[in-house]
Symmetry: C2
Amino acid sequence: MTRALAPTRAMPRGARARQPAFGGSTRARVVARANARRAIALGADVAVDETQLNAFLDSLKYDDKGLVCAIAQDVDTGAILMQGFASRDAVAYTLRNRKATFWSRSRSELWCKGETSGNFIGVESVHVDCDRDSLIYLGVPTGPTCHTGAHTCYYKRVDGRDGAAAKVDGGRHAAEEALTTLYELEATIEARRVEAVADDVKPSWTRRLLDNPELLCKKIREEAGELCQTWEENEGKEAATNEMADVLYHSMVMLNKQGVPMSDVLAVLRRRFGTSGVDEKAARPPKKLIDPSK
Amino acid sequence: MTRALAPTRAMPRGARARQPAFGGSTRARVVARANARRAIALGADVAVDETQLNAFLDSLKYDDKGLVCAIAQDVDTGAILMQGFASRDAVAYTLRNRKATFWSRSRSELWCKGETSGNFIGVESVHVDCDRDSLIYLGVPTGPTCHTGAHTCYYKRVDGRDGAAAKVDGGRHAAEEALTTLYELEATIEARRVEAVADDVKPSWTRRLLDNPELLCKKIREEAGELCQTWEENEGKEAATNEMADVLYHSMVMLNKQGVPMSDVLAVLRRRFGTSGVDEKAARPPKKLIDPSK
């Protein structure tokens, strides 16, 4: 149980020190603040078994340049933040220091993402694919990942407005970023909040809820009751699925109303379920917690 | 608005026709059934502007082998399903046919994933990174993605039990798969459901809720009320975040109680928010729906 490389105890300064450059949008600021709150311990005191580590590094299938593919993914939101390539040393550095590290092909050097910008990606766990030539670095960014200031490097949709292939109808509307369903919904709610509604146009249901918090509270209590009712009245899986969707949607409107990003909620659940080690456990707020081990 | 390649109208037969080979676990079966329900239209009637498509294909930065990186991600769960490389033709085929398509480096041929196994990945949208050398194919698999029968190719954790670098304490416990927080929580609840509890040991809170649905319903109603109260009593963001975490956790225990995977709930929300085009809209169940456009 030794550490070949001393941990760099850099604090997650990126998100606090920098203003996101990505258009200075509300979303970018919300994401930056949330990342600062969600940050995991970097360079934490992780015991690395060097024999196991070397056996693992030997087992990877490096390409003709000595690299494997490495994808950094946000553990709470599932967002793919960036993709690069990693040399044997880069993988070792990542596992030892819990910071996403790559091989820079343009500069031909080891590149611990964030070492110049301060925007690290703290690594919670590492996963390897069946071919052993591709890794996921699952973690939390301390600031915007992209050099443009965007939360993720994949902020451009190909088959959208400015893209190559437009869909006839439908299509994801809220953002060009590769948002998964929950965050597309969050972005849609935010779009409804900020959109201008003319006096003679009936506002969206979301907007009506946002403008009428008493109605929103009534709906949240009602939908929670209806979810319970699917069990109590034995209404079946489809009903339970639909009622849960109602609970989630209305609760997320309430989160928007209060300016709380969903990623903060997931970070709370991650900490409660002990997925982030001792450091985060010690940092838990005293407020009532679900402890599934009890 | 022409189609150079005729759409292959293959139905998502993978998930139905095949038994998942991945240990035949409950989780694998649940995932397979959910994928069948969530499937998006493949080879749907998508209008592709050939001029825009070619301009986009020209703009990509292919490596010395003429390839870009392509990552297939589940639009509902955020799970990274697989990573491969795509040639110009593979990207074009993906955009025209809405099926994740790669260049097989081992066979030196275009590879529409699923064309032999039946386990396609339906593509909802495609996103490009800032360097224009990496793509996300965001969509829904029709069956297990991995040739081993696993839901995703990244089913092995490096720094876990069998991995290279173990953490001193903590660490994600439910699965070796690269699960993001929501699905880690779902897997944890399932683990609590199936675990053996000795007579003289106090069961986990999750298990007590599962064994006592009346208590579970009482808690869900209570937590929904407490979330509303954070607004009504102006308790602040931290309280709202914690109460939402409570609502989400307890509701997810209810989903487990009724055998409903979270991905089904997200698929319902995706369909409601019009992110999947005309085909899915037409297939909507008549039951009450949130229509954010109203």
